[in-house]
């Protein structure tokens, strides 16, 4: 089994390196095929491992080699395939295989074709490290690795200012969170003496709650960065500057869920600190609604989906925060499928529309892009949580969790968010695929994409359709051997049915409303002047706030630090000290004026000064005063003479 582990882990790396070798060359289809094949290999390996674990096989734990070892610190490259990581591996390899194949079509005409596949595979490799590592340091490698690849891929079209800006923003924001993550790791090390999951978690039982709380908070801040939780969320929407497959893979299905994965992975820790968990849940609920609110009005197709992702991540955190780790993981998985599908569909649309993103310029595309329409609608339905699609099983479960845990406010928030989700999803579908063909005014000629791309997408569509009812049972059985196996059942069947049907109804209504309202894509000026509309379209003014109160001051402060402090204070004082000597020299070297009389005077004056000091010494220091006066007069005199 170890063989499959390594196969799953390293085949993306090999793919990436090979593709990278051709990086600077013009497009070679081979790289796409090669990496896709390797990814497929990884998928197969993961599946084999999954089957192994499902069959109740032993957890596979390997140690490749030592990474860092000094003092008491010992960090190996250790990998573990257990019930949690294998789920993630499946998600990652599956989605990425699909995305790879999809990209062969999508990136068809791009100059950086080879480079793209190299980056993409590298990302998969990092993600695999992240999920498979058996210790925090290894997780951090993957953590930073995916950050790097995200940077590379967001900024893939580096000639675009906005793309590179977004890439940097994403990287730096993630870094802020990574710092917290690092600090959390340090604290873990110094309290437990190890960064290995098993050892550290075992030790947590003996650690006081305050320390654990601190660790929990820091780790969660780390998770917040990767998963783009408020207030570190702005990068995700901007990250949509990258190619769409990237958005599908990284910014929907895998990387952004790493935060959730971390919390799930660290469940023994968060179990001990329910307060932090509650905070996580609350923040998650807030983000869910907050992100959804921005999605309501946005006019950028990809951003809408991005906000939707953000919102769903909020759901996952609610679940994880409330201790329903398996639920969170389940939603993570389900979400990965339909959200990737949604993005890929959006990619098809963009391709058809020459990279146009404003859905108000589209409409009626279902005629031209039937399959895409079907798949996107499917994904949206799943996202909205309509039975029996995947979303229903995972998302409704989270609502139930909130309800069962008596967090009614959270429940209410999530319920409203669910409605908003349905609304904006179908607003989008409606604008793109239905109504009149507004794109004709803009001169677009939409067309369906390659067939093989559609075929590549189909597994995702199928999974979005069936993942819920098909896999839920075996999933729970498998995962709960590792995660806390809490059952979330509403005890009264009446309440259960009221809630389920009620939710479905509300969601359905939202869909209908959205469909009706946006079928004709009328832009309502009145609404646009509305304060809330402005607030939402400007993303609650948060990017503005960051720009004005963080970025700009930092830049200005930097300029001050350089121009004022460094050059004018620090450096100038050094030069000043040196100049004191030089200037003194320049000012006084004229006392050597070449006149013999002056020389003799200096000699006598020296003697006189000594004599004064001597008399002062013998007769008391009153004389010293006199000496000063005389000395002053003399120096003054000399100066005046010199001036003359």
């Amino acid at each position: 089994m170890e063989f499959y582990l390594y196969l799953a882990l390293f085949s993306p790396l090999v793919g990436s390196l090979v593709a990278g070798l051709f990086g600077a060359r013009p497009k070679t289809l081979l790289t796409g095929l090669f990496t896709s094949t390797l990814l497929f290999t990884a998928l197969v390996s993961s599946t084999i491992l999954l089957v192994h674990i499902l069959d109740g096989g032993d957890i596979i734990h390997v140690e490749l080699m030592t990474w860092m070892a000094t003092g008491d610190l010992y960090i190996p490259f250790g990998f573990v395939v257990d019930q949690v990581s294998v789920v993630m591996m499946m998600v990652v390899t599956l989605v990425s295989t699909v995305v790879h194949i999809y990209s062969i079509g999508y990136m068809d005409h791009d100059k950086g074709f080879n480079r793209f596949f190299s980056y993409l595979s590298a990302f998969v490799f990092s993600m695999m490290i992240l999920v498979m590592s058996d210790n925090f340091a290894g997780l951090f490698i993957g953590w930073e690795g995916v950050g790097l690849c995200s940077w590379l891929l967001i900024g893939f079209w580096y000639h675009k200012e906005s793309a590179t800006w977004a890439a940097n923003e994403a990287f730096i924001m993630n870094r802020i969170a990574d710092l917290a993550m690092l600090i959390g790791m340090f604290l873990i090390y110094w309290t437990t003496g190890s960064l290995q999951y098993d050892i550290a978690f075992a030790e947590f039982a003996h650690v006081d709650v305050e320390t654990l709380t601190t660790i929990g908070i820091f780790l969660f801040i780390g998770a917040m960065g990767k998963s783009a939780q408020f207030p570190l969320h702005t990068w995700l929407a901007d990250a949509m500057e990258g190619p769409t497959p990237v958005s599908a893979l990284i910014h929907a299905a895998t990387m952004v869920t790493a935060g959730v994965y971390l919390v799930v992975r660290a469940n023994p820790l968060y179990d001990l600190i329910p307060d932090v968990g509650y905070f996580i849940a609350s923040l998650g609920a807030f983000v869910a609604m907050f992100a959804a609110s921005m999605a309501l009005v946005n006019r950028d197709m990809k951003r809408i989906i991005a906000y939707s992702t953000l919102s769903q991540l909020g759901y996952m955190f609610v679940a994880a925060g409330l201790g329903a780790y398996w639920v969170a993981l389940f939603h993570l998985m389900a979400h990965a499928f339909f959200k990737a599908l949604l993005f890929l569909g959006a990619g098809n649309v963009m391709h058809a529309m020459d990279d146009e993103l404003d859905p108000f310029k589209m409409g009626g595309l279902k005629k031209h892009m039937k399959w895409t329409w079907i798949m996107m609608t499917l994904a949206s339905v799943a996202l909205a949580g309509i039975y029996p699609l995947a979303g229903f099983f995972s998302k409704d479960l989270i609502l139930e969790v909130a309800f069962v845990e008596h967090h009614y406010i959270l429940y209410a928030v999530l319920l409203i968010t669910a409605m908003m989700t349905a609304f904006y999803s179908f607003r989008l579908i409606s604008l793109i695929f239905h109504g009149t063909e507004r794109h004709k005014q803009h001169g677009f000629h939409p067309h369906e994409t390659y067939t093989f791309v559609l075929i590549a997408m189909s597994p995702l569509a199928i999974l979005a359709l069936v993942a819920g009812f098909l896999f839920k049972g075996s999933y729970i059985e498998m995962v709960t051997t590792l995660l806390p196996a809490t059952e979330y059942h509403i005890h009264s069947p009446i309440v259960f049915w009221i809630m389920t049907i009620g939710t479905q109804l509300l969601v359905g209504l939202s869909i209908a409303y959205a469909y009706r309202k946006y079928e004709h894509a009328k832009i309502d000026k009145k609404i646009e002047d509305n304060f809330f509309y402005k607030l939402l379209i400007n993303q609650w003014y948060i990017p503005h706030f960051y720009e004005e109160y963080i970025t700009k001051p930092y830049r200005e402060l930097s300029m001050i630090a350089w121009k004022q402090v460094d050059l004018k204070i620090v450096d100038a004082s050094v030069d000043g000290i040196a100049n004191i000597f030089y200037k003194t020299g320049e000012a006084t070297h004229n006392m050597q004026d070449g006149n013999l009389s002056t020389m003799l005077r200096w000699m006598v004056a020296g003697t006189a000064v000594l004599l004064i000091l001597a008399v002062a010494f013998t007769t008391g220091y009153l004389m010293l005063l006199l000496a000063f006066i005389v000395g002053y007069l003399y120096v003054n005199r000399l100066r005046r003479e010199y001036v003359r």
């Binding site: 009389s597 005077r601 006598v604 004056a605 003697t607 006189a608 004599l611 004064i612 001597a614 008399v615 013998t618 007769t619 005389v630 007069l633 003399y634 005199r637 003479e641």
Partner: protein
């Protein structure tokens, strides 16, 4: 009593003479006053029983030194009023006055010491010159000889510096000029 009167008298005279030397604008006055001052100083020597020293003083200073200076003065023809470009005399007086004042302040207090012993005591009944000779040619023979060397050095230096060979400077002449000069000299000799 006699000593006191003599002391004050000669003190006054030397001070006046030397002041004239220092302050006059006439080089000749200065020279004369200096010579006179020197002679008055020898009076102190006689007064203090240092006859030999007194004699030497007169011979050396009023004889040799003054002759030399006079020679020099004639050379420079500075019988005219000397123009001097001195600046800020106040400072001079301030400095010198202060030094004098301070030292005087210190010197007013007599020296108290029981440990002073005369190593070469003045022996009663022995003439000063004799006694001086005794010391000079035993203990101070080496300094005496060195002084002789010093005078030799001074003589050589004086001769060389004032000599004719210094009139042209090899230092300032380029090699070709030196060659030319030497050739012309040889021609002149032959």
């Amino acid at each position: 009593m006699f000593e006191a009167i003599a002391f004050y008298l000669f003190a006054f005279l030397t001070i006046v003479m030397f002041s004239v030397t220092v302050f006059t604008k006439q080089a000749l006055y200065a020279l004369t006053a200096l010579a006179a001052g020197m002679i008055f100083i020898s009076a102190f020597y006689f007064l203090l029983g240092a006859d030999f020293l007194g004699a030497v003083q007169i011979i050396v200073y009023t004889g040799a030194v003054m002759a030399l200076y006079a020679f020099g003065m004639m050379f420079f023809d500075t019988t005219r009023n000397v123009k001097e470009y001195g600046r800020s005399p106040q400072i001079i007086f301030l400095l010198s006055g202060m030094i004098a004042l301070l030292i005087v302040i210190i010197f007013v207090v007599p020296i108290v010491s029981e440990n002073i012993t005369a190593i070469y005591p003045v022996i009663e009944g022995v003439g000063n010159s004799q006694a001086v000779g005794m010391v000079l040619f035993t203990k101070y023979l080496i300094p005496f000889e060195v002084a002789a060397v010093m005078l030799l050095v001074a003589m050589i230096a004086g001769i060389v510096l004032a000599g004719k060979k210094m009139d042209y400077s090899l230092t300032l002449m380029e090699d070709e000029e030196i060659k030319l000069a030497e050739e012309s000299k040889e021609k002149a000799l032959s």
